[in-house]
């Protein structure tokens, strides 16, 4: 595959164009990757609005009808619902692990047992999030992928 990079004027809008015979899974993967790198979400902290890169998100938690976006050292509130995050975040790297949490799989360092068939995910910032028993099979399937 040939890759062309062309410099454009600062006044012009940046873009990425893919030339392909047909849109197959490989092309879709590239698109998802670009969207992940380029994607962002609006969130709030101290009544100020911030743009947060999707790839920086560790996990999103829903508490009492409010959604909180957790980064390595920060937490922001979002006006989106958890199901909207599930749709917005690329499904390759993000997974629902309980009724209230969607986690970034790329930010998990270790998985440990909790009690009663549940698991704890140790994240890159040292925080732990719980994987409910109900969501364990989905996690297994996701992580095993084509190894099954």
């Amino acid at each position: 595959m040939e890759i062309n990079i062309r410099n454009i004027e600062p006044s012009q809008k940046e873009y990425i164009e893919i030339g392909c015979w047909r849109v197959n899974e490989r092309v879709n993967e590239i698109v998802r990757f670009i969207k992940l790198r380029d994607g962002h979400v609006e969130a709030y902290k101290d009544e100020k609005q911030y743009r947060i890169a999707l790839s920086d998100i560790l996990y999103v938690e829903s508490v009492d009808d409010k959604c909180f976006v957790y980064l390595t050292d920060d937490c922001y509130e979002s006006r989106k619902r958890l199901y909207e995050f599930e749709e917005l975040l690329p499904s390759e790297n993000y997974l629902r692990i309980s009724k209230s949490v969607v986690v970034n799989l790329m930010k998990i360092e270790q998985i440990r047992p909790a009690l009663n068939g549940r698991f704890l995910c140790r994240l890159s910032n040292g925080e732990d999030v719980i994987v409910s028993r109900k969501y364990v099979p989905e996690m297994k399937e996701k992580l095993r992928g084509d190894r099954r």
Binding site: F33, S98, A114, N116, G117, L120
Partner: protein, 145 residues
């Protein structure tokens, strides 16, 4: 639901095995000369079923933290002890010998309960280690895309 049932069945059979061992040890210590009929094979199953009742009563409505889960397990354990002691000794006259046996049974139930939780934890640890391995492989694959 399927996973909960699987988990309960797994706990049940681990309990039954440990109850068998406890009956053997307690019987040898407290009533070495006692003889039983075939019905004795039913007891571990019945005790195992009684032990499952607290798990059905004390249910989690929301996602519990590890500390809350530990507290819930302690409550379930106390309930199991009360239920089993009441089932085995309920209606018997309170004598010194009965009290000693009841205390031994209660201690055995606690040991069995903790045993079931510990065995379950080790089984989960095996799964967790496998998940961590799969996770590392998954992350490498995603990074190399």
């Amino acid at each position: 639901m399927k996973d909960k049932l699987k988990n309960m069945l797994s706990s049940f059979f681990i309990s039954v095995t440990l109850i068998n061992i406890a009956m053997l040890v307690l019987g040898r210590l407290l009533r070495p000369d006692q003889q039983f009929g075939y019905e004795v094979f039913m007891y571990p199953l019945i005790y195992g079923l009684i032990g499952m009742i607290p798990a059905l009563i004390v249910r989690d409505g929301k996602e519990l933290t590890v500390r809350q889960t530990l507290i819930r397990e302690a409550i379930r354990m106390v309930l199991t002890v009360v239920l089993l002691v009441a089932f085995i000794f309920g209606g018997n006259p309170i004598e010194k010998d009965t009290v000693i046996t009841a205390v031994c049974v209660a201690v055995s139930v606690v040991i069995i309960y903790v045993g079931v939780v510990v065995i379950g934890w080790f089984l989960d640890k095996k799964t967790a280690d496998q998940l961590t391995e799969d996770l590392i492989r998954f992350q490498e694959k995603q990074q190399n895309l």
